[in-house]
Amino acid sequence: MSELWFEIAENPAYRHVLLNHLPITGLAIAACALAWAMVENRWRSMILGLSLCLVTSASAVLVMQSGDAAYPFIFDQIGGTGQTWLDHHVELAERWGRLLPANAVLAAIALATGSRYASCRRRMSGLVLITTAFSLAAAGVIAQAGGHIRHPEFRTAHAPAGAGTERGSDRSAGLTPLPAKSQPATLAMRRLTKAQYRNVMSDVFGPGIELAGRFEPENRRNGLIAVGSAQATITASGFEQYEGMASEVARQALLPERRKDWLPCIPSNAEAADPACSKAILEEVGPLLLRRPLRKSEIRARAALADQAATEFGNFYTGIASTLSSLLVAPEFLFRLESTVPETAQTIYPVRLSDATLASRLSFLLWNSGPDNELLEAVRRGDLHEQGVYAKQVDRLLSSPRFEQGIRALFEDIFQFDEFENLSKDPIRYPMFSARVAADAREQTLRTVVDHLLSREGSYLELFTTPHTFMTRILGPVYALPVRTENGWEELKFPPSSGRGGILSHASFNMLNAHSGRSSPTLRGLFVREALLCQHVPPAPADVDFGLFNADDSPEHKTARNRLEVHASNATCRNCHTLTDPLGLGLEPFDGMGRFRRTENDAPIDASGDLDGKTFRDPASLGIAMAKNDRVAGCLAERTYQYAIGRTTTFSERAFLRRLEDAFDQGGHRITHLMREIVNADGFQRATAGNSMPAEDWALREGPS
């Protein structure tokens, strides 16, 4: 009993579900009572009917209050379609829900007037009966949408498209902050990814440094390594690898032919310590590696290490190598630690990020590498956050050739291309497959993305339809297309007869989202839903009856469509597979490594289907349906924002996400436009709560000690 009370008192969702029957079932009973009273024409019965109408209609206020309070918790717990239904439910409630309290007021007026003037009793009761009927209809419509939130078995229709667009912005205005426990940390501590490590090495020591070692496996959360890296740690065996890698990088960086390009000084005697030179080196590379100016004490400690080692080993470069190692294994190198400064304002992001944090956010988002000297100079001056300086730096970063590196990293993360490292195919079924083919397929898609989005300044949506792509000779046989260039890349257009168009028809996605020995419509559909449409597809229930499944080797089920029929005919399977399979079957003309085929086991492949109401008949028209799908652009905007800030967004940021999506739409879905919107957003430059370290005055000649 006490548990029940606790649920009622503490859990608004529970209260909502408990009470929501009153304005529906209760009101229906009240209406019957009132109707009977009018037939009877007795005032005492009418009092009962009117009172019931009053109480049950008024209870809608409690229902709506508890529903409002439950929204953020429920929203975070449910995925994809459920969220859409929830938004639709709230939108309906906000539009029609007001009828119920109005009905309660009317019933109260009827009671008051009826008790004084006998003449208007019947008329007033009749009026209340009519409004009650409308209220009941409204409550029914709202509840019907509500039932779909948690009960996929009721979802016979498609989720309403674009539900809640306006609601988001209304809601955030008067929003009460979430309880502290559900507030995620807004400052991230992100582990450097392998690509970021490599990019920084190349920026600081020149291209071509080999990273000899194994990185910690990447941690993907909510579809992004950028988000997972903010939860990832470093294990003992991982640290061992970082340490080995650091000394190997230092060794390569200090090879005579390489060091002349980056060392700011030459030691007076290469066989002894040279304190002035080691200090100069630290002042040069220290900030580039730790992504902030170095304190005097830090330079002192690390220069001392270098000088001591140089004296002991009689070699200046041994000393420098050890001090480089100490930077490369430092937590501030391996993790990107964010900090804020105590400068507050009245927004939902009250505190400002420190300039050093802002510089890192910018450079990692746009270049996937650490801040360069010019950004660090602004950090040192302490004016990066000032509008003019910031805008100039944003322009500079966006127009740099390194922006391509940033765009590649973003799409590698969204497309989950890190999985290429684990990709293998059965050599008997796919003799054409090799590590080279896989690497080229991956590169092909990234080249197409960069070419389309940056060189052509094309719309993101057109990526799903563009016939323009790039090819190497080794990819030629996979696509059954002639490639003239012997070595390197050749630009070409998919001919209409090739059955291809848009990036989803590339070999990369189709080999990645397949089994080692065959294609998989379910995996492909799952990828598109989760990675490109930001929908959540629930995992299969544990106790599925697989006896229903049509086995791969059964002679009467030649194509995947036949074999997957059970997913569509069985109610349990259908709930989720209706999201994945019809979509994935549209890619069935590509086998498990992405080669085009018209038949499977000699039976013709039917690749037709529909994607959220848009029909398609083959992979190329599936691309067109993707380009027309109204979730695609919003999904990229949301993912890119989360990628930039290293965490999932909160309920209070939903209004911002809608605005971001609108801005992306208005900007013609240009990626540069989206990036500019993001880096100018409050959520990128500020935080809800911070660690507010006192701002360090780097501008002092040698930095604070």
């Binding site: 940390a185 400052l187 501590m189 194994r214 496996p217 941690n219 997972g228 939860q231 990832a232 740690t233 470093i234 294990t235 003992a236 065996s237 991982g238 640290f239 061992e240 340490e243 080995g244 000394s247 400690a301 690390r302 290490l305 080692a309 002991e312 080993f313 041994t318 050890s322 001090t323 190692s325 100490s326 294994v329 430092a330 937590p331 501030e332 391996l334 993790f335 630690l337 293998s424 059965d426 050599p427 008997i428 079924r429 089994h515 080692s516 020995g517 065959r518 995992p539 544990a542 106790d543 599925v544 697989f546 006896g547 499944f549 086995a551 791969d552 059964s554 498990g592 660690n691 370290m693």
Partner: protein
């Protein structure tokens, strides 16, 4: 002594030949010159022989009615899917009928079973996984004395799925190939305990100084961070401390170890999910691991034969073990899925091979296996229905005479946390209760203890 060195060199050469070749069985002879008269201690230090703990994981379970022995006790008949362990059955105790108790939690397919056994709690979501895994807890107790706190290996070549972690944000990554395992253990940084002369490497001192400069930042950084991130930074510094200890060990002369014979670099078969490659890589890893243990480089290990939802496949097949468990029709006459079951038998065969390899290294008056205990487990029993009831569990080795082998114990639906608790206590961890929520237990398996 000189006579010994000659003999040792000779053996070393024989061994090198065998590992570098196709991975034929090791028959490591022992050299009793280092044993005291009781034959149970290292003569040089008088310290008892180390005790080791390991896990051996295989994906996609078994067919319960063909795997679970019918009778309890010692003289049980091996059911069809356990027949591959016949040759080592005296070193193995079979535990059937132990389960991960869901008690309202969702069965997250292919994760709940393995993390339930490893952490003593059914995961709440696929990423909300309880406390450190069993092996990490044991490594915290016995892992400090060796160069590596633990070693992780993946015969199937994917680093990520080791089911060993301090927290869910970072699985302890596995060595994905025999060569990687070799380089980690016997490459740079390995000191042969029997080398005779020992001179500490001044570069090791330098590496230590590098780490101590880094460690100075700790207090300043921690003050900047929120609770969750501070815990992550702590893990970083724990890792750093572990490397410092490793370097300390390299600076002092290791006590001689009779069974330690450093091998030459192995030739790795291709890394893939092809069952033949996986089995061959597994055998090489088992041999390298046996030598790493004999050389006391680690006392805790996790070997993953195939991951949960195993992607192992036969050459030329369009199916993987996992897809077969769901999609292959049961053979009406046999009553099980014949192709999927083949993978169960292959897994059991490799497990038997693993036990055999550890048992082939003589140590004291017994073998390496006698001084170890290895937990063999899977994430499901019946993989077709993702069942976490009656998981297949085996223990090999006696942990230095503390555990009975050759038994079959039936758990009748009790939590696998009882197995985890027993293992922690056997390995010297002071713990009376273990597990989370419905799986929490204070009852070790006393019938298993000697």
């Amino acid at each position: 002594m000189s006579q010994f060195i000659t003999r040792r060199k000779l053996l070393e050469r024989t061994l090198r030949g065998s590992i570098a070749g196709a991975g034929i069985s090791l028959a490591l002879p022992y050299l009793d010159v280092f044993l005291n008269t009781n034959g149970d201690a290292l003569a040089a230090t008088g310290a008892p022989l180390p005790r080791r703990f390991g896990t051996w994981f295989f994906g996609c379970g078994m067919n319960p009615d063909r795997w679970n022995p019918a009778t309890e006790g010692t003289d049980f008949k091996l059911p069809p899917e356990l027949l591959p362990i016949e040759r080592v059955r005296q070193h193995i105790s079979v535990l059937s009928g132990f389960s991960v108790l869901l008690a309202g939690e969702t069965n997250h397919v292919h994760r709940t079973g393995v993390f339930g056994t490893m952490t003593g709690g059914a995961p709440i979501t696929t990423t909300e996984i309880d406390g450190p895994t069993l092996d990490v807890l044991i490594a915290d107790t016995i892992g400090d004395a060796t160069r590596f706190r633990s070693l992780e290996m993946a015969a199937h070549g994917l680093s990520k799925d080791t089911y060993s972690q301090r927290n869910a944000g970072a699985p302890n990554p596995a060595e994905p190939s025999p060569l990687a395992l070799y380089q980690r253990v016997f490459g740079t940084g390995f000191t042969d305990p029997n080398a005779g002369e020992f001179t500490p490497d001044p570069r090791t001192m330098l590496r230590k100084s590098v780490l101590s400069v880094v460690a100075e930042d700790r207090a300043r950084l921690e003050s900047q961070l929120g609770q969750a991130d501070r815990a992550r930074l702590d893990e970083y510094f724990t890792a750093l401390r572990q490397l410092e200890k490793q370097l300390d060990l390299q600076l002092s002369e290791p006590p001689p170890l009779e069974a330690c014979l450093p091998p030459a670099a192995p030739d790795s078969p291709p890394i893939s999910q092809d069952i033949e490659h996986v089995a061959a890589n597994h055998d090489l890893m088992a041999q390298l691991l046996a030598l790493a243990l004999a050389c006391d480089q680690t006392r805790v290990f996790n070997l993953v034969f195939s991951a949960g939802a195993s992607r192992l496949h036969k050459s030329g097949s369009s199916d993987t073990h996992h897809t077969l468990t769901h999609e292959e029709a049961k053979d009406a006459a046999l009553g099980y899925q014949p192709q999927a079951t083949e993978f169960v038998l292959r897994s059991m065969n490799s497990w038997a091979r693993f036990v055999e390899v550890l048992g082939s290294v003589r140590e004291g008056d017994g073998t390496l296996l006698d001084n170890s205990v290895v937990l063999c487990h899977s994430e499901t029993s019946d993989a077709n229905s993702h069942s976490v009831t009656g998981l297949p569990i085996m223990l090999a080795g006696t942990a230095g005479g503390r555990i009975k082998n050759g038994l079959h114990i039936r758990g009748s639906g009790e939590s696998t946390a009882r197995v985890g608790l027993t293992l922690q206590q056997v390995m010297g961890r002071k713990v009376a209760r273990w597990g989370y929520r419905a799986n929490e237990t204070a009852r070790p398996l006393s019938e298993l203890l000697t």
